[in-house]
Amino acid sequence: MGTTVTTNLGLIKPDGSESIKENLPTFDGWASQNEDNMDKIDSLFRDDVVNSYVVNWTASAVNPTLGATGFTEGKYIRFMPRMVAVFFRIFTGGIGFVAGTGLYRINLPLAVDPAFAAFSHTVPIGKASFNDASAALTSSVFLAIYSPASSLLFFRPSAGGTWDNAVPVAPGQNDRLAGYVLYPTAVP
């Protein structure tokens, strides 16, 4: 009486007619083994928890300050199981918002696969939209780019350059940024 396991996932394969028997002193029985297989497959395909993380919105010279009711929010989920899908948003808030100075960036919830260090500068991993509350014409679609040197996320406006306190427009009260990125981690 015994079992074998598959090469990659380690799924338990029943071994002959005795495998359907219920628990024995030296054998869990196929019902129990099947449960183990289900859990293993489930955990490999997707982490069923949508996780939250704290989005730190910073700038290369002076960090911005959120105004009244301003907030940042980050959510992420793992799947397959090394890939991470991250959703983030920033609301600058009202009175009290200060734009800061320099290039804007945000943090990621989980470390990107260190193999990305091979990139010489940055690599695009997602998209974002910037909504200018005071002028629709200066709203923009951003490219979300990862910098291996800093392990942070930067943004390129649709007309080029890097999102900062002046490009594509100086952010003001009640402006919003929302986007997503998709990237691999080193370990599941």
Partner: protein, 189 residues
Amino acid sequence: MVLNLQTPVGNNFLKDWPGQNAVNCDLIDDYAGPCLTSHPIQTYTPALTASTANPVLGTSSTLVGMYYEIFDQIYTWGEFRFGTAASIGSGIYEISLPFRAKSLVGQGPSSSFTSPPSVGNAVVFDESIDSGRQPALTVLRNLDKLSFLVRMGTAGASRAVSHNIPIVWTGAPSPADGVMWSARYQREP
């Protein structure tokens, strides 16, 4: 993709079920391969070509290609940057895929969707000035290659990245100008 997992039927299914389950375990395992457990991110060497005359990257250039394979879904990232003594070639720039794509969705004479399918994002990287680093769209040029589209001026049109669009490519100081990209597509078979 169909796994053809066995479903027990008939009066004697309890007798047959362990054997069928063993087959199912192998089918699932074979399909998953090592990607879900032990497969690290993979590297490959992309080929940079052009529709008329191929460019030459030059000395101290960069050429990076990576992919992560989940079943038949390929997530790929890469970059090229010209170095000194580079030749920019002529025509639309093309980058080889790590695996042949399964199909060009909607592309063909019978389809109303004749534009190359968008599969990711890219950055045209102007080494000399940050404002010249502009977003681009990564598209499937054919089953084996990517190409890139950029927004042109204020007219809203887009055109393929080539030897003279959207910047004048230079290779110094090396590594200099180039493209960084990401893409996701379904591979053969």
